[in-house]
Symmetry: C2
DNA sequence: TATATTAGACAGTACAGCTACCCAATATCC
DNA sequence: GGATATTGGGTAGCTGTACTGTCTAATATA
């Protein structure tokens, strides 16, 4: 297909596709002539992935490129290698670590302690480390007397979440497919997970403190446990 | 204190403080004369909160204002009221819902089913609903055959997370303090929770598929369960 | 009284993410 | 085979966000 059909099928404007091509987010089509190129389903798929990362997830174009580059490069044969790369990517947008190209591991004493307490094995280069230390610092500067110990219960829940994530990769055999699925689970799912927390917070707040102001009629005598009505 | 001391103590440039005042993120100081105003610790605190939301969390200035407005307005006496407002705020930045001022509830059939299955009680106006439906749609458009049922295990973990969150509010009595703490837990903690997931994913990937490429030496014979070494 | 600081207003800057336009080459329709 | 439309490639411009710098008159401080 040519660019206009790609545009029509993806809903992304022609000019924007060209922009993504220029920025290297979308690989160039197979050139059939000097002013003609042929695109295929892989381009359509990639385009949708780009829009998922920049749209619902809110990544910057540069961050999306970084993520996309990760699943494209390197040898795709080692599952653990590919996944390690994906999980190690940090979209340098919101809350990015200082070191742009995380070559140098930054001291993260609190995360070290947490990782040790959880018995985890994670690369010292994983940028997620810095996010945790920086967040704890920020919370303390706002008077919240938190340290890594207060994150332990959250870490336990994060471990279970990660297990759910990895379970969904088991069914896939193709390493490339696995890498793309990992990206979807890791990045695109993030807003939904936070949305679930928000819903659960509202429910829990109603259970503990009373009815929500936005709701007119609630069933009385709500439970504390989790069984359904 | 005057603006320069506020700037020095917060680390935020003078001009930026004026910008926040203009934008209404920071309440004006008590004017002592036509070209003089007095700021206090509440301003310093608010300024730090603004930087936490826009910095580590990555909210836009407009989204931060929306969050800040929520804890400032309304009567502060009802705990459930205040928390309902905070948990209902969606920072219109990344993955914002379409309706800017969520007055009209949007149809979210998948979230409805999920909420029902969990036995939750949440406002139909909570913007988190739309995020979930939109994310599921996006994942499906990328070939992931997901529906609300696949989110159920995540919802269960979200419920536990919410319980941890609310536990940390129990100790506070002042409703205003409670609201601010809720903001910190809900928004500022988000990147850290996602970072924890990333670390747990890397660990779980090593446990299942082998060693991480970034790590030179690992202890052999890793476990599947969660006990510490 | 001299110097520095301040509030308030507004213009200017830097960057991101598109968007519009141009041109020569190519495809397509008659 | 000629007219018309589309394409790739490049560049310039536009819009919005988050500041930053400058100016002025009023006020504080030495």
């Amino acid at each position: 297909m040519r660019i206009s059909e790609l545009s029509r099928r993806s809903g992304v404007p022609n000019a924007t596709i060209k922009y993504y091509l220029r920025e290297g987010l979308l690989p160039p089509g197979r050139a059939t002539a000097q002013t003609q190129a042929e695109y295929d389903d892989s381009h359509l798929r990639r385009l949708r992935l780009i829009r998922a990362l920049t749209g619902v997830r809110g990544l910057s174009v540069a961050a999306a490129k970084q993520v996309l580059d990760t699943i494209a490069e390197e040898d795709q044969t080692d599952t653990h290698h590919v996944l390690g790369l994906v999980f190690g990517v940090w979209p340098s947008g919101s809350s990015k670590p200082e070191t742009a190209d995380g070559q140098v591991p930054v001291e993260c004493p609190e995360t070290d302690a947490l990782v040790d307490a959880m018995g985890w094995t994670v690369s010292t280069y994983n940028p997620a480390r810095q996010v945790i230390d920086r967040t704890l610092e920020t919370l303390r500067s706002l008077g919240m007397e938190q340290d890594w110990r207060s994150l332990l219960p959250y870490a336990e829940l994060a471990a279970r979440t990660a297990r759910l994530d990895l379970d969904q990769l088991e069914t896939l055999k193709d390493p490339l497919e696995k890498a793309e699925r990992a990206v979807l689970l890791t990045f695109v799912l993030e807003p939904a997970l936070m949305a679930l927390r928000r819903l659960a917070q509202e429910d829990e707040s109603i259970v503990r403190y009373g009815e929500s102001p936005s709701l007119a009629a609630l069933q009385p005598g709500r439970r504390r446990a989790d069984e359904h009505e």
